[in-house]
Symmetry: C2
Subunit: 255 residues, 2 copies
């Protein structure tokens, strides 16, 4: 493990090994912290990784504004778990889907084969997060009942089955995701939710149609849920909204 301190925030690398495969992660925590704080797990988006700019600034905000600890891991096939050329190909493909917008008729993934591959990766990612939570508990980093999850886009698609299956997560901020009409695994996961959820949507998202996004919000089973919508595309959620997400965690996980 390496450790790095910057203006009150300790950034520490860690690895969790599952079936011989290394899942690399980062913990951001307040300097001079003794004992557990509320923890927020951050699920990065597709073609991103655990240390992309949006994850870092959210993680540092959670530590500095709320005194929380933040944790991110590379999703299957992302970050340190993929070669640079493969990651570049993925990013190009994602940019292509954004440029094509919804005119392709598909939401995020392409062919049925892609969908199968993606479902397997999602199942794997859920298990990796659960083992990461085991580690956080074993190391005394998180206390029972004080664990949240935040994920947008792919991070929401992984987060939905994760928080539906994982009772240790008690509050979530999800967004930039949707479900198509009819039954789907994501919609079923959403219906099982009971924890407070803030759902974030972009009104002109090039990847998620309005109807699919609204259908996902509608499906979320939680009594305490909220939806925040802003105009603009998949990457245009206003920066000020980050403060709202932190406040949502503070309301449910305490200070």
């Amino acid at each position: 493990m390496s450790e790095h301190v910057d203006t009150g925030v300790v950034e520490r690398r860690f690895d969790v090994t599952i079936d011989g495969e290394v899942v690399p992660g980062i913990i951001w925590a307040p300097e001079h912290q003794a004992g557990p704080t509320p923890v927020v797990l951050i699920g990065h988006g597709g073609a991103q990784h655990k240390r992309v700019a949006g994850v870092i600034s959210l993680a540092r905000g959670l530590v500095r504004d709320a005194g929380y600890t933040a944790v991110a891991i590379d999703a299957p096939g992302h970050g340190d778990r993929v070669t640079n050329p493969a990651a570049a190909d993925e990013l190009m493909a994602l940019r292509g889907r954004i440029a094509a917008g919804l005119r392709t008729g598909s939401a995020v993934s392409g062919s049925p084969r892609d969908a199968d591959r993606w479902a397997a990766a999602r199942t794997r990612a859920v298990r990796e997060w659960s083992e990461t939570i085991d580690m956080l508990g074993a190391e005394g980093i998180v206390a029972a009942g004080r664990l949240g999850y935040l994920g947008f886009s792919m991070g929401a698609a992984i987060g939905l089955p994760l928080i539906a299956a994982e009772p240790r997560i008690t509050v979530a901020v999800l967004g930039l995701s949707g479900v198509p009409p009819g039954a789907s695994a994501l919609e079923a996961a959403a219906r099982r939710l009971t924890i407070p959820v803030l759902f974030v949507m972009q009104w002109d998202d090039e990847l998620i149609s309005r109807d699919d996004g609204l259908r996902l919000f509608d499906a979320i089973g939680s009594r305490d849920k909220a939806m925040h919508v802003h105009p603009g595309g998949h990457r245009n959620t206003p920066l000020y909204e980050r403060r709202t997400h932190i406040a949502f965690f503070e309301r449910h996980l305490g200070h």
Copy 2:
């Protein structure tokens, strides 16, 4: 004018007289305030009045949390401008519409005659707010560019044409309102807006269908707009959301 001070909040009655008709209002301001503060005008809902519980607690929150001044007036045919039996009839009618929900097929008002009466009251209300703003400027209570409006339900239906026509209002929080399909005066007013708007919607509103609410948000012409949606009926917006509304004004009107 009468004046009353309670835990740092000065509450002062005022009247604006227009064409011989008295429009009664209230100003809530910080005690010991010298000079203008940002001001938020509060438009109450149908069958309510300037001193209903929701208006008072929002006004006191604006003064105590943000150091702002808040102003409310009785809408045409409401509060001190109507007899108690007539106000009670109006409240019963509104409760009846809520109980009937959208099964009546109408949004808020009933017959075409009601709609005409309502359009005239709205036009009158817009003029009354403008003259109230004149008075606030003349008395040195508001400074240029530091004026916001908040209104839900009837307060939003009055607020839309008001803020579309009134350049002195620079930010607004509106909600619990909608527009039916096709052209309407409210939709046209929404399209003319350019100021930052936070639109608040209830997902299971008995008076406003989802489609009509979403259509209103979509029509708002402002680049800087946001929509916050919560589950439950017309009167179930969570109390914590009030803090978000105040923060929205603070972001645009300053501290």
